[in-house]
């Protein structure tokens, strides 16, 4: 069975002073993959500036807007429709031999293959004193360890949408122990990488029919590479595996590779941005 999702993304930017020139780049288009099939995309803005579709440095689809002429406010609206196959996240061949898995991740070829997602970044740097907060149990499979890590992270950090912002680093998070999906995901990735497991930050949409934490904006979760299995999605914020309700846009080393909107705006004075996301679904026969 499949679900048809329809996603509406809105952003509105207002500026105190006239903007002479601006460029925006949106990273909000759902990825096309085995479980996500694209139907339609509709992107408009209030200035009728042309939208250009492009591919960013990490290979994901972006939309760029570069209005001509001065303005003080601009609103964007994107509507996506896609079909998502129903996923059972547990439907995979588990690791056969625990020891083999841990040997695998020590191999040079494995490290070279996954170099990008084994790196520590500014957002995934764990302070020395906290490195032992979570350790892997080599008697358990990598997958079980990752589930345990997800559970640990979920319980260690309390969801609070006011406590952090997009610049929050782990050193601060581990002090206040409150945060949002992005913080949960960074912490999970950091511990996975520390233990030699490639992990990547995923940004996407969450269909909220089932009372999950997330919010009415974008959602974030992690994907970790389990040896002999492949990439598996962990929604750490909700302590579940990513499934049918998780609509992926892009992945990267951390938030900075996946921020939904990047802009260069030549203006003075204050500005304000308001985002909103609505995801709805209907069954497909």
């Amino acid at each position: 069975m499949s679900l048809e999702y329809s996603i509406t993304y809105k952003a509105e930017n207002t500026y105190e002073e006239s903007v002479r020139e601006a460029y925006w780049q949106f990273l909000i288009i759902p990825e096309e993959n085995d479980s996500q099939q694209f139907i339609s995309i509709d992107f408009t803005n209030s200035l009728d500036a042309t939208s250009e579709f492009s591919i960013n440095g990490y290979g994901f689809k972006t939309i760029r807007v570069h209005p001509k002429g001065e303005f003080k406010s601009i609103a964007f609206e994107a509507n996506f429709k896609l079909i998502k196959k129903e996923i059972n996240p547990f439907d995979f061949e588990p690791e056969g031999d625990v020891q083999k898995s841990f040997e695998k991740i020590q191999e040079l070829d494995f490290k070279v293959d996954h170099d990008t997602f084994l790196k520590t970044t500014d957002y995934t740097l764990i302070p020395e004193k906290s490195k032992n907060l979570f350790t892997f149990d080599t008697n358990q499979s990598v997958f079980e360890n990752l589930r345990a890590l997800s559970s640990f992270t979920h319980h260690y950090i309390k969801f609070n949408s006011e406590a952090t912002d997009v610049y929050t680093k782990l050193s601060e998070l581990l002090n206040i122990r409150q945060g949002v999906c992005q913080d949960f995901t960074h912490l999970f990735c950091a511990f996975a990488r520390l233990n030699g497991i490639p992990a990547r930050y995923v940004s996407g949409y969450l269909h909220q029919g089932n009372g999950y934490f997330g919010d009415s904006q974008m959602h974030a979760w992690a994907e970790a590479y389990v040896p002999f299995v492949g990439w598996i999605g962990f929604d750490v914020t909700n302590n579940i595996l990513a499934g049918t309700d998780h609509i992926k846009i892009a992945h990267g080393k951390d938030y900075s590779n996946c921020s939904p909107l990047r802009g260069v705006v030549f203006s003075t004075g204050k500005n304000e941005t308001v985002h909103s996301v609505v995801v709805s679904s209907q069954d497909q026969q």
């Binding site: 780049q25 591919i55 440095g57 990490y58 570069h66 070829d109 170099d115 990047r262």
Partner: protein
């Protein structure tokens, strides 16, 4: 013997420990310098001072200057320039030129490899950490094929002559190496001041750099472009190398643009001209990676062009040098250059690398501990000269401390012999006489598709402070015209 009738050299003091470029160990003028030595000797010190002042004024009037900021006032200064040229005999130049090309080609293949299959790492020739811990490695470049397969179109190789008379490479600069315009200015200034001396030597011209650069940049044009539109991009006129940027654009006959002159539409790059947009195909960029595209890299960069990287990734524009080349001029990579050359080219390195002892290897560790007073100890992961200990300047107590630190974490340290840069007679304003000063040489190599070019000359940099080994212009270094003699 120094000819005492040679007025301007009458007070020259030769330190026999140092390798002097023009005097041999017995104090005799070397054959290749003898004519020059006699020609300069015909000038009285006063006449020479006069010529020197004129040369300085010429630089100043031409605006070949940089700005110094102090106490709210900006001052314009010229780069110190010495009228006594350095000569490189043909047989030595042959080594330098072929060695520079060899290194540039090896680095290019290395860059291709580490942004594709990473074979050199998989086969254990260089350690993984060299790229995984390098801030200059750009993940965005993985799998991307730069036009013509070239990454380091322009390389600046810093070479010294050690007291054994051999050339050694100290550093490969393959981000935005600068200085080439001074090679040409130095030649011009020397020609204006002392044209007579050129009658006695057959020297290669250095003015062909720009045309060769343009030719080679045109060989790496994007696919489907017939006659490429090449531009030079500069951070702007307040950049200390702006003179060079404008010089290169002018001599290549191409536009000198700033980020705000360009824009990207449908993944093509255009410049804003008085007649509307004009497509740009090849960009010789003098802006660092982090600043070229605020939508992909440093978001607050006002110097770059939003969307430029996407256009590059799509193959619609060539960037020279390619983004991400900086990973290959890290200090840590340098120590592996001999292995890198052998691995990709199956050749022995032509130019010496300063030998590096890796303390992670037990035999080498023992050597380092036993010979620490003759070595420079460097941490592998620190940049900018931090944590460096120079063996012969340490007290006994300090030596013990350094040894202890190495033993705690041998992987963290490498050691190199203490290199001594050769010296060259250099006119010193304060004493109004010639004195020995340390020099190095920066060569400029350009790689194109199946073609390369090395400027026959290069920039001889002089450490103007007595005893100082630092030749960088930011640290008060000067420069000399450099003659490569024809055979």
């Amino acid at each position: 013997m120094v000819n005492l009738e040679n007025q301007i050299f009458s007070s020259y003091k030769r330190n026999p420990v140092l390798f002097d470029e023009i005097f041999d160990e017995k104090g005799q003028v070397k054959e290749v310098y003898s004519k020059l030595f006699n020609l300069y000797g015909e000038h009285s010190i006063n006449a020479y001072v006069n010529l020197n002042e004129k040369a300085k004024a010429s630089f100043f009037n031409q605006g070949i200057t940089f700005q110094v900021y102090d106490k709210k006032k900006t001052q314009e200064k010229i780069f110190p320039f010495d009228l006594f040229p350095r000569i490189i005999p043909p047989e030595e130049w042959e080594i330098i030129e072929s060695g520079s090309i060899q290194r540039s080609r090896a680095l290019n293949l290395f860059l291709w490899d580490i942004y594709h299959d990473k074979k050199i790492i998989r086969q254990g020739v260089v350690p993984m950490s060299l790229i995984s811990s390098s801030a200059n490695y750009l993940d965005q470049m993985v799998g991307l094929n730069p036009p013509g397969g070239i990454y380091n179109h322009i390389s600046g190789t810093d070479i010294i002559k050690h007291n054994d008379g051999q050339y050694y490479v100290l550093e490969d600069n393959i981000r935005c190496p600068s200085g080439v315009s001074y090679v040409i200015c130095n030649r011009t200034a020397l020609k204006r001041a002392l044209f007579g001396v050129f009658d006695h030597y057959k020297t290669y011209s250095v003015t062909n750099y720009a045309e060769n650069l343009l030719d080679l940049l045109e060989t790496v044009k994007p696919k489907g472009v017939d006659v490429p539109n090449v531009v030079v991009i500069t951070p702007g006129m307040y950049n200390s190398a702006f003179y060079e940027h404008s010089y290169l654009a002018k001599t290549m006959g191409v536009e000198l643009v700033e980020g705000r002159d360009l824009f990207v539409e449908n993944d093509f790059v255009y410049m804003k001209t008085i007649k509307g947009p004009v497509k740009v195909d090849v960009i010789y960029r003098r802006i660092d990676d982090a600043f070229i595209d605020p939508l992909e890299f440093k978001p607050d960069s006002a110097l770059g062009v939003p969307g430029l990287f996407a256009a590059y990734k799509k193959g619609n524009v060539t960037l020279a040098n390619a983004p991400g080349t900086g990973v290959a001029d890290d200090k840590a990579i340098y120590t592996y250059m001999p292995e890198i050359i052998r691995y990709y080219l199956n050749e022995e390195p032509i130019l010496n690398n300063v030998h590096t002892y890796h303390c992670s290897r037990p035999k080498e560790l023992k050597y380092v501990l036993d010979n620490i007073q003759n070595l420079v100890i460097k941490p592998v992961d620190e940049a900018g000269g931090y944590g460096i200990s120079i063996g012969n300047r340490l007290t006994k107590k300090e030596i013990e401390i350094v040894k202890a630190e190495i033993l705690i974490n041998p992987r963290k340290y490498v050691a190199q012999p203490i290199m001594s840069l050769s010296v060259h007679p250099t006119y010193i304003d304060e004493t109004e006489s010639f004195e020995q000063r340390h020099v190095d040489l920066r060569t400029f190599t350009v790689l194109g598709k199946d073609r390369e070019f090395v400027l026959k000359g290069g920039l001889t940099r002089v450490a103007l402070k007595r005893g100082n080994l630092i030749v960088n212009s930011s640290q008060g270094g000067g420069s000399k015209d450099t003659w490569v003699l024809k055979t």
